[in-house]
Symmetry: C2
Subunit: 378 residues, 2 copies
């Protein structure tokens, strides 16, 4: 019988060879969710389809009593309610957000955590107050180096009880492009509970762990933050005792709306012979996407797709499309994005212990039935 938190809150582990998804991973997959890939059709992801990852519980919140404190190495600490925040000049930015662990469940060996396949992404119009304006109002002291953000979500992870807390370098927090937001609106409505109601951070171009939800405190510090989510979790490392490199910006990725229609269980796609429009989205948190290539022969050959500019500023995804002539048989479709920094997607996995920043190309299994196959009616 467990009596110590350490007995129910173990260290990070890798799945054994051939080990199926565990009950614990399934419990995370049942509460968190990805973007159903057909929802890549929407420029802005409708509510409820944007990916969600919550480390602990969605906190119970009284929005009328909510306060945001801004303190630490500032000349004048701020203590703001929602009305005060809404009274300040607001901006709206369209931002594509992706979980740092997207793709983790496809890795071998598989890091045991939230088992994302490829769908942990979404794009929203986020409305709020630029963080740099709040920091300017408070007056950042010359010795400041980082800004620490504290959420109201509380739990234990690998034996460490904590409020969810992450930091940004001061230069990122003060930058004008991308501009970090203290957001209270998503797609023209108040934030839903699972997206941080009433306040969250939005850090365009960064993986989701930086966009602290249920934001209640912003602390300017004169030393680098060493909390759990900064120095233990969200590091690129190969061995458990590597110090590792911090996970920051989103690696380039393209995804396809799976064409045709699916089989319920296998999710294999069925298409009819002939011309098939292939389309989807591509993004990178480092630099604009400059090239999207599509393969219809399991990665052996690639052709350029038509790439649109991002339709909501520099930090949202780009639409892409091309045409494929389907012929009877099985096909594997893939798509690959490259950004202006020449970062691209690997064709074989680039592994790390946390399963972070994985941007292995998507594989979409498609069956084009033989013309003589008459399908049984429903």
């Amino acid at each position: 019988m467990a009596e110590r938190i350490g007995e129910v809150s173990g260290p990070a582990r890798l799945a054994r060879s051939g080990e199926g998804i565990s009950a614990q991973e399934l419990a995370l997959a049942a509460r968190n969710h990805g973007l159903p890939l057909e929802a890549l059709r929407y420029d802005v992801t409708p509510p409820g389809l944007h990916y969600v990852l919550t480390h602990f519980d969605i906190p119970a919140v009284d929005t009328t009593a909510w306060r945001l404190a801004l303190n630490g190495r500032v000349r004048t600490a701020l203590d703001l309610d929602l009305r005060a925040l809404r009274g300040r000049p607001a901006v709206t930015h369209r931002v594509t957000m992706e979980c740092a662990g997207n793709g983790r469940a496809r890795l071998s060996p598989r890091p045991v955590s939230q088992p994302w396949l490829v769908e942990a992404v979404g794009t929203a119009d986020w409305t709020g107050v630029p963080l740099r304006h709040l920091l300017a109002e408070a007056g950042v002291e010359p010795d400041a180096v980082e800004v620490v953000f504290t959420g109201a979500d509380h739990g234990v992870e690998r034996g460490v009880e904590q409020d969810y807390r992450r930091s940004l370098p001061l230069a990122v927090a003060l930058a004008g492009d991308p501009e970090v937001l203290v957001a209270y609106g998503m797609n023209g409505a108040p934030l839903p509970p699972q997206h941080g109601c009433p306040l969250r951070l939005v850090v365009p171009g960064w993986y989701g762990m930086a966009h602290v939800k249920w934001l209640r405190e912003i602390t300017v510090t004169d030393t680098p933050f060493t909390g759990f989510q900064q120095s233990v979790a969200y590091r690129y490392r190969h061995e458990p005792d590597d110090p590792g490199e911090p996970v920051t910006r989103i690696e380039p990725r393209a995804l396809m709306v799976p064409p045709g229609f699916p089989d319920f269980m296998s999710r294999v796609r069925v298409v009819r012979p002939g011309e098939v429009r292939l389309e989807g989205r591509a993004w990178s948190g480092h630099a604009p996407v400059v090239r999207v290539e599509v393969s219809t022969d399991d990665g052996r050959s690639w052709t350029r797709a038509e790439l649109a500019p991002p339709d909501g500023g520099s930090w949202s995804w780009h639409h892409w499309h091309t045409t494929w002539t389907a012929t009877p048989g099985s096909h594997v479709l893939s798509v690959r994005a490259t950004d202006a920094d020449a970062r691209t997607q690997p064709l074989s996995q680039s592994w790390n212990r946390g399963g972070f920043g994985n941007n292995l190309v998507q594989r979409v299994d498609v069956l084009c039935p033989a013309p003589d196959e008459s399908l049984p009616p429903a």
Copy 2:
């Protein structure tokens, strides 16, 4: 290489002993999602937290061109656009909806399908036109026996290509309490894409498979419907060749908001010693819930909880609460609902091949740390 649909769309199967969750089950779990159990705190489930199960894809929909046909054994067929539906007298009903496969992933052997644990539930305020009024307007012929509902979602399941389609007995379709709705609104807003935008059926008291989404056709028939989702899927059967009994109304169930705070990976709850409020929801699609009992010793003893009336009519869940004095050690908390028909929840599994109507009591693992355990700081 697959060349036939049957090669990518197999028969139903049971997991082998010890077989972990498969990649196919995970792909379903990543796109569909349950209610994070802390969201049982809301009387009405906020958008994006209500469970979602989509057999095929969320269809691409042009709401301005959408038409609902009502035809078959009626005197005057109807062909209505959304404006015509919105122009008719509307009603709003608060309805608790649950997936018929809820609890499936806990069964042994496990039916391989959408791997729900216990969270496939939600409650919404659904607004629309009573189906009985539309049927009265069209004039049902005396030989009518069933009403068939066709959605715009299309795919293949166990080798059968199909539009999603289900029927109701005529008496259910015409009933006044519960009243079946052709709904266009959810919680005061248009239906979101994943909940059937622009139209869905709402059948209070029935499992989710009856609430046909993306509804485009209603056909009154003089013979019972024998389509795939009626006569192959959604049957209670023990052997593959049983004709089985149809899955219809929701079995009673109670769920608890897990107390305290979670461990990220194990989801075990941590509570402090002392009084802990336990609360949650209870519902049944057969009759009002009349008793909720709580066990804090893994089902050995049970005490009555305080049960509130449903706050939105007869077809939404009831709130319940009680108090527990937590003592150091491990505990398993459970809750059990009983309805006015004396239906209750089993303490050991009642198995069927589809994993339907499973209402085994919930088990919540809780650790109350020893008072001398000082937790490491974040």
